[in-house]
Amino acid sequence: MLIVEAIILSVIAASTPLLLAAAGELVVERSGVLNLGVEGMMIMGAACGFAGAYLSGSTFVGALCGIAAGVALAFVFAVLTLGLAVNQVAAGLALTILGTGLSGLIGAGFVGQKIVPAPHLYIPWLSDIPVAGKILFAQDGFVYFSVLLVVGIWWFLYRTRGGLILRAVGDSHTSAHALGYPVLKIRLLAVLFGGGCAGLAGAFLPLAYTPFFIPGMTAGRGWIALALVVFSSWLPGRLVAGAYLFGAVTILQLHAQALGLGIPSQLMTALPYLATVIVLVIISRARGSAGSVAPASLGTVFVPDR
């Protein structure tokens, strides 16, 4: 295997969970809800995804269990913030604590167990093209799905009436409400969708990335996904760029260290964060005022008039 090919494969694997989780959160935030519980939903997805795959012997069932766990936790968040109009920041943080604890409990019996990692899907003769074949046409299902997901989200947000309504709800829930749109119902669907994506992102870790479960194995990826949404200025295209840039710099700095370039490792470890923030800010600046800004109603509670 060529080293370039090996590096690109590692980059794709490192970027995929970030992209999946961030894509879901982008839709949630576009609807005007700030869910800081991504890390909690991810780790729940990891625990339940592994449990499902271990018990059924199928990666696909595991992925579905991961999604279900994320949706279930997101539903708790929705009940609190949409139903009871609780502060979204507090509820989101609570969700992360809950998810961390609960996943440890659920996963306790599965620590140290092994599963067969997600199969790579080979496409006849396309996979055999040198270098590009392995990179583009021999990934596992999660990777293909993450790309389709982002394209789908872009299409939904900018090419469909539903997406227009969702963005309207996120920008001004009172106006959307006055026009007769069911604000809370739309937000509920967005929150559940985001939960499913986070759960799937979490499930990717024990099912494909490192095929075992250990409590706390998300190791802060949920927080990185949250930051990516902000730095992408809520645009799906930039989100892809941000996630892949972050993954690429993470992997490249490891290779640079192994080459022994003599740059302090602490700086190298900080590099993915620095590079991603700087590049995304520059893109936003270059686009000038045409760039998207935060949904105007983001994080504010909506209680419909009676």
Partner: protein
């Protein structure tokens, strides 16, 4: 934000612990503070295994409590105080970062006995203990040099602190005793625990030609990568053979159980004294997992090295130890480096080509 969460989690755990242990006043209460989750399969897991051994041995005389996921630094003080206040008379704080908080709490509770792992600050009622893990690293170096075809070892480091540095140096000295030209590639991941990143680092090392991996991080991710790539690796903290049945050569296993039992018995008998314990292979605080996946001659050499370290005929940091520049390091222990030089190691030995971190 993450720190805030950890604090909240620690506080919640502390509350739960008090609720659970409201009864049984006549038994000796022994408390444990853990850095990670008990299921990490690494550092914390081995302390938990030792706690269970303690319960098995002295279960009718003692009662134990543990708090897991306790953040290092000032945050941990609350958790230690919590244990001291709820009648625990012996408290083990099991990570380096609990050092200052333990010292502080020990002052506030002079009647409670404290045991701090891997630290160096002691008091009347505060003892320290650690393992001579570098002895195991030396054996791993010998095995690695024998098994490597490319002559390049891959080392995943957590943080460039003396304990990790001394591990790298001991590995290299062991490896050089077999192959003087052995090379090592080092990647610092700047975390103790992030399975994904540890796996990425392992892949990067393998991609760059390392064919024996060793790690000073806590998850079995690197072992799994070695298994997938068909190369060799060493387990860390616990026996990781499950994750690399065809890859694990051996593992350094932390064996705290006998020490916990000994110290608890001392408290029960009223003979406990504050001491500095630093035990290795000889005292079985550091144990090697079975030597697997290697030819018989390598296995014999590994066993011979282990026996040599135990009977004192092989000393990993025997003088002269040459620094990176090839000049001998000052020999404070007479014939070998002294404890202070090993515990505070701040140089690479000759043969490590990387630049020394933060110098």
């Amino acid at each position: 934000m993450k720190k805030l969460l950890m604090t909240a989690a620690a506080a919640a755990l502390a509350l739960a612990a008090t609720a659970m242990n409201a009864s049984a006043a006549d038994k000796l209460k022994v408390g444990f503070i853990y850095l990670g989750p008990v299921g990490d399969l690494g550092w914390t897991y081995m302390h938990e295994v030792a706690r269970q051994a303690l319960v098995k041995e002295l279960g009718d005389k003692i009662e134990t409590t543990y708090l897991e996921n306790v953040n290092e630094g000032p945050d941990s003080e609350r958790s230690i105080v919590q244990l001291a206040r709820t009648g625990h008379q012996l408290i083990f704080t099991t990570s380096f970062g609990y050092m200052d908080p333990t010292v502080k709490v020990a002052k506030q509770f002079p009647k409670v006995k404290f045991e701090h792992a891997t630290g160096y600050k002691r008091a009347e009622n505060l003892g320290t203990y650690s393992g001579r893990f570098y002895e195991g690293r030396y054996i791993q170096g010998v095995i690695a040099a024998k098994m490597s075809k490319t002559g390049t070892l891959g080392y995943i480091g957590s943080f460039p602190i003396p304990e990790v540095i001394s591990g790298i140096n001991a590995t290299m000295l062991g490896a050089q005793s077999v192959n003087p030209n052995i090379k090592v590639k080092i990647i610092w991941v700047n975390t103790w625990f992030d399975p994904g990143k540890e796996a990425d680092a392992a892949k990067a090392l393998a991609d760059q030609g390392a064919d024996v991996l060793m790690q000073h991080t806590d998850s079995p991710a690197a072992m799994q990568v070695a298994q997938q790539r068909g190369i060799y690796a060493f387990g860390q903290d616990s026996d990781m053979i499950k994750f690399g049945p065809k890859s694990q050569l051996t593992a350094i296993v932390n064996n705290w159980g006998p020490y916990y039992i000994k110290q608890t018995k001392a408290v029960l008998a009223g003979t406990w004294k504050s001491e500095d314990t630093w035990d290795g292979l000889k005292e079985k605080m550091v144990v090697m997992a079975p030597y697997t996946n290697m030819p018989d001659d390598v296995k014999a050499l590994a066993q011979k090295t282990e026996a040599g370290i135990i009977d004192g005929s092989i000393v990993p940091f025997k003088c002269p130890v040459l620094g990176q520049d090839g000049k001998p390091i000052e020999c404070k222990g007479g014939t070998h480096l002294d404890a202070g030089q090993i515990l505070g190691m701040n140089f690479y030995v000759k043969g490590v080509d990387e630049k020394f971190p933060s110098k």
